[in-house]
């Protein structure tokens, strides 16, 4: 793993996340949200979980970001900006960050370097999905079906 790559990806991701959290113009914030997920997918690649990184790009950027952008379009009312920003949220976020950082630094066992690994192939993920994790797979299938039907029912125009 490369230190330079880590720093670059970390800066990209955190900057895009900050932009998504604070920009006033709705569309720019939504597009920075997509860039954040590109950064997170890059992290997954760096950590050697390529399948998860590809699924992340596929699901989040290809589907969730498009959904969010469409919803912004459909709920616009000619207002391009999100006026109003609650500053108490910043205080809470900084407090939580401080708490997490102190917890991380107090733990000694997380200062290890990465052990070398054989790559996790898609074949292995498939085997594990079909043997150990077959119940969660079926439950996720049911959940996705329920979400699909539920979302459709929620946005269908009521007749009359």
């Amino acid at each position: 793993m490369n230190g330079v790559a880590f720093i670059v990806i970390a800066i990209l991701t955190l900057a895009a996340a900050l932009a998504a959290a604070t920009l006033q113009k709705l569309m720019h914030a939504a597009l920075s949200f997509a860039v954040t997920f590109v950064g997170i997918a890059a992290f997954f690649f760096l950590l050697g979980a390529e399948f998860v990184g590809l699924v992340q790009v596929f699901v989040y950027i290809g589907a969730v970001a498009v959904l969010i952008v469409f919803t912004i379009l459909l709920t616009r009312r000619d207002v391009e900006k999100d006026r109003g920003f609650n500053w108490s949220g910043v205080v809470v976020a900084i407090a939580v960050f401080g708490g997490l950082i102190s917890a991380i630094f107090k733990t000694q066992s997380v200062s290890v370097a990465a052990p070398a690994i054989p790559a996790l192939t898609v074949k292995r993920i498939g085997e594990v999905l079909m043997t150990n994790y077959v119940w969660p797979l079926q439950c996720v299938g049911l959940l996705l079906t329920a979400a699909l039907i539920g979302a459709l029912i929620l946005v269908m125009e009521e007749k009359g």
């Binding site: 569309m27 720019h28 597009l31 997509a34 390529e50 399948f51 590809l54 699924v55 790009v57 596929f58 950027i61 290809g62 589907a63 970001a65 498009v66 952008v69 469409f70 379009l73 790559a119 192939t121 898609v122 074949k123």
Partner: protein, 395 residues
């Protein structure tokens, strides 16, 4: 001799890399990737230039006229003239558009189209980037195109663009499902998501003369047709070019782009077409394998590009022959016909595998596909019985 001709590009690259053998390891890796990228760009940008003029000539011949034939022998230097024209045009950006988004949209579309080219095996040992989940990478990058199309439509601050972008995205999302599900039988039978393994699974010959390509199995043929049609839709080509229908919404999401940015959109569409046909050739037509044992002396990349060009010719042929479909017809077709047929292909592939991969498997999977196809076509029949046509004046 034939082997060295086949591996000429691989040997050339190894020669280039050996000239810098004293450099540190990461530099050699970067140099290797850069050589791959430059070779890929050189080949596909040349193919794009050639394709832009050949398409117009073929369309012209279908329409009983010559295509462009002024600018060079048989008009083959037309891309140079087109390129100069695009470069010297004034770049008009609408005043109230969103400048950053408007600028980034063609860049992003071109970037995702070129990224998708990186995992296709072009010849024996000539895959630019080997990723374990190569097919998934292709589709992940392809699904990013939708966001870029949306950025183009929204960034132009134009209702036609927005409408065109939404139509384009609706079409692309609907056909992404059949596109991916038709690839599933191939992945299932080959047992891997890496394109190299899938091409290797199509090596050899059945009965000594029929190649083991997946297109010669019933589920493979059905999946190939479905994949090909979905690829047509994904690249916004006629008969599915509703997003850029010139007679309806000017140029859809590309309305407000002039000059080089329009050329970038154009290039991105063609490179997307190359990527989809390249993937179709890899998954179904055996990649770089030769069709007959006698012709195996011809280098592998020649076979790959021959298959690619044959599929591109069919694309252009369809463009010249078929009229544009309506948006609701496109959606109906995707959800009511292609998706069930795509699932049937998976079942048929499993049936083929489990009844032995020989003649018995062939017949059983053909039965499965035929039953579902007949049921679907009778169910989806529009029930309108038309009266015989009568002509008022043409008797």
């Amino acid at each position: 001799m034939t082997d060295s001709l086949d591996q000429i590009f691989v040997r050339g690259k190894q020669l280039l890399l050996s000239s810098m053998a004293h450099a540190p390891d990461w530099l050699v890796q970067i140099a290797s990737s850069l050589i791959n990228i430059f070779a890929l760009l050189a080949v596909f940008l040349t193919l794009f230039a050639l394709m832009s003029v050949l398409e117009r000539k073929i369309l012209g011949r279908i329409q009983n006229r010559y295509g462009p034939n002024r600018v060079g022998p048989f008009g083959l230097f037309q891309p140079i003239a087109d390129g100069i024209k695009m470069l010297i045009k004034e770049d008009i950006v609408p005043a109230r558009s969103d400048k950053i988004v408007h600028f980034l949209a063609p860049v992003l579309i071109a970037a995702t189209a070129i990224l998708a080219l990186g995992i296709i095996p072009y010849g024996r040992g000539m895959t630019p980037f080997r990723i374990d989940g190569g097919i998934l990478f292709f589709f992940a990058v392809g699904s990013t195109t939708e966001l870029a199309v949306f950025m183009a439509g929204w960034g132009s601050n134009n209702k036609f663009s927005m409408l065109g972008a939404m139509r384009a995205i609706a079409q692309m999302i609907s056909y992404e499902l059949p596109l991916i599900i038709t690839v599933l039988p191939v992945v299932m039978i080959a047992g891997s998501l890496a394109p190299d393994t899938i091409v290797a699974a199509q090596a050899g010959y059945v009965f000594g003369f029929v190649p083991r390509w997946f297109v010669f199995t019933p589920w493979g043929a059905a999946a190939f047709i479905l994949f090909f049609v979905s690829g047509l839709v994904e690249s916004n080509r006629t008969p599915f070019d509703v997003p850029e229908g010139e007679s309806e919404i000017v140029a859809g999401h590309m309305t407000e782009y002039s000059g080089f940015k329009y050329a970038t959109f154009f290039m991105a569409e063609y490179i997307g077409m190359f990527a989809i046909t390249g993937l179709a050739a890899t998954l179904f037509l055996g990649g770089w394998h030769a069709p007959i044992r006698i012709l195996e002396f011809i280098p592998s990349y020649v076979w790959f590009f021959a298959k690619l060009n044959a599929l591109l010719f069919v694309y252009v042929w369809l463009r010249g022959t078929l009229p544009r479909t309506r948006v609701d017809q496109i959606m109906n077709f995707a959800w009511k016909f292609m998706l069930p047929m795509a699932f049937t292909c998976i079942v048929a592939a499993a049936v083929w595998h489990y009844t032995g991969r020989g003649l018995r498997g062939w017949l059983w999977s053909l039965v499965v596909i035929a039953i579902v196809y007949t049921v679907l076509s009778t169910l989806l029949d529009t029930q309108k019985k038309f009266a015989p046509r009568t002509y008022r004046f043409a008797e």
